[in-house]
């Protein structure tokens, strides 16, 4: 009995040694997303110029970045396991994503989703950034809010509430984003939030709180917001 256990232990030890040697070859790399308003960094709860005549205050900006992967010359070279990140403007550090990359990996593009994919959306309760206590889960109808933006406009004194979500056709609002950069340069990704209001009339669409055609329309604006910074 005892010798079986020792043998088993040896096997387990070997196993751990192997797996940990793999993790030794990894390096932590930061990829940061910089929320911006025109050519400035975006501040919550301060007045910002909106179009020609109005100003706007962003009171909430929270969204999911998921399924991160890296590409080199069009080929996927790495993907993050269990990849779900909740980014929150009020918690600036959440915009720095620490990735565990293999050493010496070469890449020239980053791909990720804004939102939570449909398979994950139907998998029941989850923890970490996906825990429903994070306030990003609808309650009257199942599904994550992929992108949550709340704001106030000054002149029209209007509250804007955009809870963009929906994981089922025809309102699958998940968006795939790809940004390309010079190989292995220090990539700066901008989230250019002003662009969101460029292609959309917020006096017409001001409340979106369920998966529907407006949510779909707004979701389609999201890929244009992510740019490579200078």
């Amino acid at each position: 009995m005892y010798w079986v256990q020792t043998k088993f232990r040896v096997v387990m030890l070997l196993f751990f040694a192997l797996t940990s040697s793999v993790s030794i070859a990894q390096v932590t790399t930061q990829i940061s997303i910089f929320p911006r308003w025109h050519d400035q960094s975006l501040q919550a709860n301060t007045w910002l110029p909106l179009v020609q005549t109005d100003s706007i205050q962003i009171t909430q900006l929270r969204f999911y970045v998921s399924n991160l992967s890296l590409f080199y010359k069009g080929r996927k070279v790495w993907s993050e396991p269990n990849s779900f990140h909740l980014l929150d403007l009020l918690e600036p550090s959440s915009f720095n994503l620490s990735l565990q990359l293999p050493q010496n990996i070469e890449y020239d593009a980053l791909q990720f989703n804004v939102g939570i994919d449909s398979a994950t959306s139907v998998s029941g309760a989850m923890g970490g950034d996906l825990d429903p206590t994070k306030g990003m889960y609808w309650t009257w109808q199942s599904g994550y809010i992929n992108f949550k933006l709340e704001a106030l406009t000054a002149r029209q004194n209007q509250e804007l509430v955009y809870h963009i979500g929906g994981y089922q056709a025809p309102y699958n609002t998940l968006q795939e984003i790809q940004v390309r950069f010079e190989p292995n340069s220090d990539a700066k990704i901008y989230l250019q939030l002003d662009k969101f209001f460029e292609d959309m009339d917020c006096s017409k669409i001001n409340h979106v709180m369920s998966p529907n055609a407006s949510a779909m329309q707004l979701a389609r604006l999201l890929p244009n917001l992510f740019l490579i910074g200078k």
Binding site: V4, G127, D131, P132, T133, T139, W140, S142
Partner: protein, 342 residues
């Protein structure tokens, strides 16, 4: 070398077997039933988690003013539905817009609520907790309240080896309790297992049932778990279009989730808005009142005809779906030994 490998295999086998025995005792699939839809691998049952879930189910701590628990609307003695009211009552005596469905055999369900708004059993509890007419609370605050309670620190530790309550752990524990609510010991079931016999009347009722009802109320769950339109005229006050609210597809107008008929002797009032108090009224609906709107289910396009003897026979059969061992199961009852008040 070969021998030691065999031994390891044998030990591993014993280990898994031991686990399976535990699982089987906590939840088992009745003979000839389909595979459950719930993925138990993502939330493996344990006695401690089920107990935690049961305490949460009965504890009004989940509501904003600590007055309403899940059991207030889903009572065990009535197959976990709300008996005296057709529309469920919540905090401040606000009235919701729907009748609470009987809770049983939920491990087999893929969608929840009359319109399927909820896609997973784990997420179900969020809806009543957050609904202003039901419990009027939110999950963040519930978790804070749980973390401030010594009782729950102990229960969470026993269940998860971690006294910290999270949204995930709380919801999964409530699921565990609900998963154990299996009703499979009615007279009907023992007839199917060959340990009991139908009376002549029940036998004739069973034939009528298979002819007229089982397309939707399919055995052995007595629901096919689909969304169907059974020809109820719309209540012009409530204006509830059912499944269409979720899919926003006109062809889903007035479709509702087919409810189980198990334990229906105790789960009145009937239908999504509780409009019928008696089984007699339900049969009168199916034989006389079915609305021939364009969305009416094809199974009901030709009106069901049942004379009064046939109605009596069908009723006799439906009453064989009562499962006393389910309704009076101690394991489902108020956890008196833990929740002292009341």
């Amino acid at each position: 070398m070969r021998k030691s490998k065999l031994l390891i295999l044998f030990l591993l086998g014993m280990f898994f077997l031991a686990f399976q025995v535990v699982e089987r005792a906590l939840f088992s699939v009745p003979k000839n039933w389909p595979k459950p839809a719930y993925d138990f691998k993502k939330n493996p049952l344990s006695k401690e988690k089920i107990l935690l879930g049961r305490v949460l189910f009965y504890d009004p701590i989940l509501s904003q003013d600590n007055s309403i628990s899940c059991a207030s609307c889903h009572s065990v003695y009535t197959a976990f539905t709300h008996v005296d009211h057709n529309l469920s009552h919540g905090i401040n005596d606000r009235i919701g817009t729907r009748n609470s469905p009987a809770l049983m055999n939920l491990a087999w369900h893929k969608n929840f609520m009359w319109d399927g708004a909820i896609n997973h059993l784990d997420m179900q509890a969020l809806a009543p907790i957050s609904h202003p007419d039901e419990m009027g609370e939110n999950i963040q605050q519930v978790v804070e309240k749980l973390n401030a309670s010594t009782l729950y620190k102990q229960l969470f530790f026993a269940a998860y080896q971690d006294s910290l309550a999270t949204g995930e752990n709380t919801l999964k524990a409530i699921s565990q309790f609900m998963l154990t609510l299996v009703s499979s010991n009615s007279k009907y079931d023992s007839v199917m297992r060959g340990t009991s016999k139908f009376t002549e009347q029940e036998k004739s009722g069973y034939v009528l049932f298979k002819k007229n009802c089982s397309a939707c109320h399919a055995e052995p769950l007595f629901t096919n778990l689909e969304f169907r339109n059974n020809g109820l005229p719309i209540d012009t006050n409530l204006k509830d279009f059912g499944r269409m609210r979720i899919t926003q597809n006109a062809s889903d107008s007035l479709k509702f989730k087919v409810p189980t008929l198990r334990n229906l002797e105790f789960s009145y009032p009937y239908m999504h808005d509780g409009r019928f108090k008696k089984l007699k009224d339900v049969l009168y609906h199916y034989t006389h009142l079915v609305q021939t709107e364009p969305n009416l289910d094809k199974e009901l396009k030709t009106p069901i005809q049942l004379d009064s003897k046939q109605q009596t026979d069908l009723t006799a059969f439906l009453l064989t779906l009562t499962d006393k061992s389910f309704l009076f199961n101690k394991d489902f009852a108020y956890p008196r030994e833990i929740l002292k008040s009341n």
